[in-house]
Amino acid sequence: MTEAGPVAGVPADAVRQAGLPRQAPPPRAPAARRAALEAVLGDPGDAANPLGDAGVLAAERRGDLPLGGEPSLASFGLHEDFVPEGHGGRLAGLDEAAALLRAVFRRDAALGRGYGSASLGAALYAWCFGTAGQRAAAARLLLAGERIAGGAAVEEGLTATAADRAPLRLTGRTAALVNAPRAAGLVVVPRHAGAGPDGESVLFLRRGDLPPGAVGQLSPYDVTVPPRIPAGELVLADWAVPAGAVIGEAGDGQWVTRRVAQARLPLLPSMAVGCADTALRTVLTAVLTERGGVRRMRSRVTRRTVVSAFADLLAADCLSLVTLRSLHLMPERSSIWSAAAGYLVLRLLQEGVGDLMTVLGTDSLRDGDGLGTFHKQVRDLAGMPPGPAGSAAALATLLPQLPTLARRSWTARGRPAPEALFRPDGPVPPLAGARLKLAAADDGLTVLLAQARDGLADEGMADWPVALSDELAALRERCRRLPELDPAVLANPRGFALGERYALLAAAAACLGVWRAARRAGTGGFLAEQAWLLTALGRISVRLGLPVPAAASDHEDVMLAEAVRRCREGHSLDLYDTALGTPARHREKG
């Protein structure tokens, strides 16, 4: 598809209720913003560009961030994209913010985290649950180009003591906090002294209020410090927290943290689509230029592996898109999709990209000729936080909801989610933290699979993979037999497997929704074609253990042609088809 989004200025309510008008829309601001950022980041293939593939790889070997990376992003004003429009910034939809930061992740995940995603994740506490004063303070910091650190976890080593009508007092030390040594604001969640497992407070602290020396820099060799990003810890001894620092209510930290996590956790996987994008582009470029021992384009292995990685990348992007947009459009329903994305998106990316190593043939271990960039992106994907804690949180959110949703939803009678959920760059209402809920009342996403059971002839699709609809019905039957509100029944590997099946079905439904929305928009383009949808669904079906009919060979041709076109023209391989920096000119053998 092209960088065309829906019409600007359509009231969000109208979008939610009626979908979007069917007319060729002019480019909306997010696409222009992405193009402007791409221009700053420059041509990834230019060896003289410090933010190009070679420059980033050299910086990684030095253990540094790429030369001039952060100043370039600062002069671009990327920090403004972390502040809601209502507070003077440019943040409208989290899907747009993630797509923007994804451009940085395409170059270097460490640069993206250190400059941006860490601050955005911490600032979400203020945007979702801060008072007007706290929001204004966070906006002032970020708009001045400062960073906010923390907010990733409850601090087990930091204790808050509360006395009647006296301010909270903090003692102890935090775990490693990304960016802490250079942050002007910190979000920390200490435990309350003497409280049970659920007594915490979320605090928004300004660096200037902290006692001198309270923030220590950690050695880059510390195993808990992510590579190449400055990290530090906060060490306090009986320090009185200033008035107005508590976000939410004192003692309410867990409540706030869990809801913010619902919006925060799907962000990084969406940005990580950029890592998979570059990995795939690097391998495809090596194939097209017929370098060294790399397999040729006519190889079965090359064709199948490249198409599979492309399809997995698009599926991961669809689930991310739906999740991030649902936080704005249907926050009460977003918990289950957020959990599915947290569980699945990184895995889809890792699996698709990991198999590309076979395409490198006898060059699989070499890191010259740009292949080092492939290995770097694979490593970055493997090391992407939050790791096991993320999947534990995702399963904890998914499992208890399965018996309930099986009883209330997952049938063709359910009400499907609005079309606006599936449109990249469509306008969304501002984030309303108070509307976020940990449990969803119904599931308008998988309804799409149930409704497709009787075919999608209306949508011009003759061979809908019915096995996916049947798998949803089978999951529904199994989950309906389980008692509601009794998580102990599901907190075991049998339950985990059900949770994984749900996540895969949610991804399939997200793909269907994005394809259908692109088709109904009537603007044509790659996303409206069946080839990518059926390939992506085939990969998901294999993961579910379902029989997969042999894919039509023209699907593979369409996918390959699109991937090659984007690679040659220097476009991104995600839903946005963004032109990257200055298009690279690859010399190819005739």
Binding site: D355, L365, A396, L438, A439, P487, A491, N492, G499
Partner: protein, 298 residues
């Protein structure tokens, strides 16, 4: 906890029945991050005929019934019994709750329990499993009596450097060395999920003849390659087989324990239930639901 660089871990543990003993394997995964075990079909055959087999195989039961011949069925059953009982012992779970699924590249995993990676291999009556809570694991087992050197196999699986290195060995050691290289390459590509699609001549190994030293990954030029933290080892088991293993690095420093109960955030799960219950899942409203704690803001 981390893999000791340059040294192989403890030898693979022989387990004779579903009853274990599993303590050593549990300890190896807990303390070292990964564990290797093997079983002989003869030891496990009684369990493979038992009434619990059907439940244990789960959705694979149909595939088991479709297998041709008693021997193939027994070997299949033994491999699943060994894998699921070993994984269940490490996870603290019921073996029949584990579903053996496949990634699109064919690599097996335990659905929903991806934090504990698994690998399976067999040769003749020997079944081997690898379990890892670090990164991916691959195991491969092969009979040492198998003629490999001089059959042309080394032409297909060895780099030029490896073939030259074979020439420096005494004639009688060459077959064992080819088997070690071959199983190491199988183990590594299985761990990567790439199988034989990854060219075996695109990377090489040193093959120390003692089981206590860890082989190193080499480039096609015979120089040490950046192994990215991968760990390799090769052992002799049951005095007649070579068992090789490859273990990928843990992506994050804090991998944490892998018991099944630790794979889900308990407090969060209770909070989700409370939200469902209190809210009765009204379809609208911005009411704030409880997390099972007092003092919620109104």
């Amino acid at each position: 906890m981390s893999v000791r660089r340059g040294l192989a871990g403890p030898p693979p543990l022989r387990v004779a029945s579903p009853d274990g003993p599993w303590e050593a394997l549990r300890g190896a995964v807990r303390d070292g991050g990964y564990g290797l075990a093997y079983g002989l079909a003869g030891d496990w055959a009684p369990a493979a005929r038992g009434p619990a087999l059907r439940a244990l195989l789960g959705h694979e039961h149909g595939r088991y019934l479709a297998l041709n011949g008693e021997e193939a069925r027994t070997r299949f059953a033994v491999s699943r019994l060994l894998l699921k009982h070993a994984a269940a012992a490490v996870l603290g779970a019921d073996p029949a709750d584990l579903e053996l699924a496949r990634r699109p590249n064919g690599r097996p995993y335990l659905r929903g329990c991806g934090r504990l990676d698994v690998s399976l291999s067999h040769t003749g009556d020997v079944v081997a499993v690898g379990l890892s809570r670090l990164g991916p694991v691959g195991v491969d087992v092969e009979t040492q009596g198998r003629t490999a050197y001089g059959t042309g196999l080394e032409e297909d699986v060895c780099t030029a450097h490896e073939r030259a290195a074979l020439g420096w060995l005494p004639e009688e050691d060459r077959n064992a060395a080819v088997i070690r290289m071959w199983t190491l390459k199988e183990a590594y590509t299985k761990a990567l999920g790439l199988g034989t699609r990854l060219s075996f001549r695109s990377f090489g190994f040193t093959t120390p003849s003692t089981g206590t030293a860890a082989p190193r990954l080499l480039g096609t030029d015979g120089l040490p390659a950046d192994d990215g933290g991968w760990h390799f080892e090769t052992h002799t088991v049951d005095d007649r087989c070579t068992l090789s293993a490859a273990v990928g690095p843990a992506p994050r420093a804090a991998a944490g324990p892998v018991d099944a109960s630790g794979m889900v955030d308990d407090g969060l799960m209770r909070a989700v239930v409370t939200c469902s219950r209190k809210d009765a899942l009204a379809t609208t409203g911005a009411d704030r639901d409880g997390d099972g704690t007092a003092g919620r803001p109104a």
